[in-house]
């Protein structure tokens, strides 16, 4: 088009108004790779030195309690003759003779107890028991607690009211009472069951242990249930759920995309923090003599056994005490780290 010589319009090159090519468009898109919920969380977790250190400690303790005992030269129940109350790295007379004869004897790293059992392996098996109880009990609590809490929250109304009163009630019953009564009550049926082939492990583990699990399943889920209920109640009312609904999202999408993803962080954190508290309870009960059956050790029962000889053999008490505190501490710290990573809202 010819330009009017008097025109004040600018000279414009029509080339500049051509639609952009594909490459040009792409070069203008500023977008990082989409980061999934898990990736984001784990990236934050990896940066947290304390949490990673405690994860490392947990892995080391798990290695010692699950794998090392498999090829450890001593077993937790064998009483070595003449090896009673040895101090760490001390040998019994018979073992000393073998060493003098040129044979190698595996040292008693933590000495032996008054029955002549190697203490190191008892500590390892004891922490295995404590860890197993912590993990299994937590799984039970997670299952029952989250199901109960979410049903109460979703149902609402009088169903919620009744379900929460039941929770209040369970809070009020003394737990030690139930554990002792249950272990009395389960005695006969478990004895009968132990004679059925395939259930002989009940004898090794002991009735008390099973009643502890039953009690966990009956009593300790209430905290988790309250937590999940309040979380879901809060999420249900949150603005972004309303917004998603307004944008036309269906219930399925809301549950999957919004409720679940927002809940899962809290669930992971509560679960991780539940593990140490389960271990806490187990060690307390074992300390009272309500835990595992002899000769199977648990960290709590090891401490309890060592109290009488505290003045002469303090290390028998301090080693299990330190291990149990270390396990609980690492799980607590890992839980805190997970909370910061997956549930940033809860920070501080």
């Amino acid at each position: 088009m010819k330009k009017n010589p008097l025109s004040l319009q600018l000279d414009i090159d029509p080339e500049e108004f051509l639609p952009a090519s594909k490459e040009e468009k792409e070069s203008l898109v500023i977008m990082r790779e989409s980061v999934s919920f898990w990736k984001d969380g784990f990236r934050r977790l990896r940066k947290n030195k304390v949490a990673m250190a405690s994860l490392f400690v947990i892995i080391v303790i798990m290695f010692f309690s699950f794998i090392v005992p498999l090829f450890y030269p001593y077993s937790y129940g064998t009483q070595i003759k003449g090896a009673n109350n040895l101090r760490p790295f001390q040998y019994s007379a018979a073992e000393q003779q073998l060493i003098d004869a040129g044979e190698s004897v595996f040292p008693h790293v933590f000495g032996t107890d008054k029955m002549g059992r190697d203490y190191a392996i008892r500590i390892m098996v004891g922490s295995r028991i404590s860890l197993l109880v912590g993990l299994i009990a937590t799984a039970i609590i997670l299952l029952i607690g989250s199901a109960y809490g979410s049903i109460a929250a979703f149902a609402g109304g009088w169903v919620d009211m009744v379900m929460m009163r039941v929770v209040d009630l369970i809070y009020t019953i003394p737990d030690v009472l139930l554990i002792v009564l249950l272990s009395f009550a389960l005695d006969a049926p478990l004895d009968a069951l132990a004679n059925v082939p395939g259930f002989s492990w009940i004898k090794t583990v002991g009735h008390n242990m099973i009643s502890i699990f039953v009690v966990f399943a009956l009593l300790y889920w209430v905290g988790m249930a309250r937590m999940v209920r309040s979380q879901i109640l809060m999420l249900k009312e949150s603005e972004y759920v309303t917004a998603a609904r307004a944008l036309g999202a269906g219930s399925g999408r809301i549950i999957k995309k919004h409720l679940l993803t927002n809940c899962i962080g809290t669930l992971i954190v509560t679960t991780t923090l539940q593990i140490p508290s389960s271990i806490f309870t187990e060690s307390f009960l074992s300390f009272l003599g309500l835990g595992v059956a002899v000769p199977l050790p648990s960290l709590g029962s090891l401490c309890s056994d060592a109290i009488n000889g505290m003045a002469t053999f303090p290390y028998l008490l301090f080693i299990p005490a330190v291990v149990i505190s270390l396990i609980i501490l690492s799980f607590n710290l890992l839980g805190d780290g997970l909370r910061d990573a997956f549930d940033p809202k809860l920070k501080n």
Binding site: V176, L178, L181, F184, F284, C303, M310, I328
Partner: protein, 305 residues
């Protein structure tokens, strides 16, 4: 407010009744009984004892008799400690536990609240890190570990504190320290996080803008808001510490209610189990109501319903 309290008390009575009923039937459903373990007693004597305490009657009759008596304030005689009433046992043992427990509650509040506040106020400084490490480690150590370590260090090695009984003020130091260890650490953590939250609120900036001094704004505005989670925790915590921790009582040989309760359970002393359970449940329920009321006093915005 009055209506609310009346409603809560009625609800509490229902809760205590349900707990008592559950305990009664659970306890009786379990095989064995209070006089089974005593080998020295002949079957005839066992039957006579059972008849004396009414244990030979059908269960529902026993239940009705017990409940009727309990409503009149009569918790019955102990089945094992002959010649002593359950209320007598509770009223002699509870003060012992409550004295140690009460001191522990006071100590943990006096240490936990200020240190938690200081940690929040000095956020990120060395003092904050030290307090955080101490409190994190504190909640990781089981009470029996604390008890035995204290016992070993001060009782066995240094020999500066008595290890048995409750005869002088020195005897209180170790049990109170052991009992208050966990709550102190827990309160520190709670206090720190809620104080951090409160310090970041808008009203704190307003207080500063008004020209209020640092201490007034912290103690008058932030503390009052930040103490609420601690109050929530105090309800169950006071119940557990005042009614006696079995571990602490066992290790320091304190004749308290916690040890009595466990003893009653293992020896199947039915009336004593019932009495102590009702006492514990009542204590717990009353504490919950008290906590709710304290809540309302601290934060008038809270609606009690």
């Amino acid at each position: 407010m009055i209506k609310y309290i009346v409603k809560r008390i009625l609800l509490a009575i229902v809760t205590i009744w349900v707990v008592a009923t559950l305990t009664f039937f659970l306890m009786n459903m379990v095989p064995g009984g209070p006089f089974m373990a005593e080998k020295a007693i002949s079957p005839a004597a066992q039957a006579a004892l059972a008849a004396k305490y009414g244990l030979d009657k059908p269960l529902h009759e026993q239940y009705l008799t017990y409940m009727k008596d309990a409503l009149h304030g009569d918790l019955g005689d102990s089945l094992k400690q002959r010649g002593r009433t359950v209320s007598g046992i509770i009223s002699t043992k509870f003060p012992v536990s409550a004295k140690v427990g009460g001191l522990a509650v006071v100590v943990s509040l006096l240490i936990g609240v200020p240190l938690g506040c200081v940690a929040a106020y000095k956020r990120g400084k060395v003092l904050d890190s030290v307090i955080s490490v101490v409190s994190t480690c504190g909640i990781a150590v089981p009470s029996f570990v604390i008890c035995t370590v204290l016992m070993y260090v001060f009782g066995v090695r240094l020999r500066i504190l008595p290890t048995l009984g409750l005869t002088g003020w020195k005897n209180y130091i170790m049990p109170v320290a052991a009992l208050s260890f966990y709550p102190t650490a827990y309160i520190m953590r709670l206090m720190r996080s809620s104080m951090l939250d409160a310090l970041g609120q808008d009203y704190m900036r307003t207080a500063k803008a008004k020209g209020l001094s640092q201490s007034v704004s912290i103690f008058k505005h932030a503390l009052r808001n930040a103490i609420l989670p601690v109050v929530t925790y105090l309800g169950p915590m006071i119940t557990y510490t005042l009614t006696g921790s079995f571990i602490v009582e066992k290790i320091f040989t304190i004749p308290g209610l916690g040890g009595e309760f466990i003893g009653a359970i293992t020896s199947r002393d039915y009336t004593l189990i019932m009495g102590t359970t009702i006492f514990l449940a009542a204590f717990m329920v009353v504490m919950n109501v008290v906590v709710d009321i304290v809540y309302k006093i601290i934060d008038p915005r809270i609606q009690l319903k």
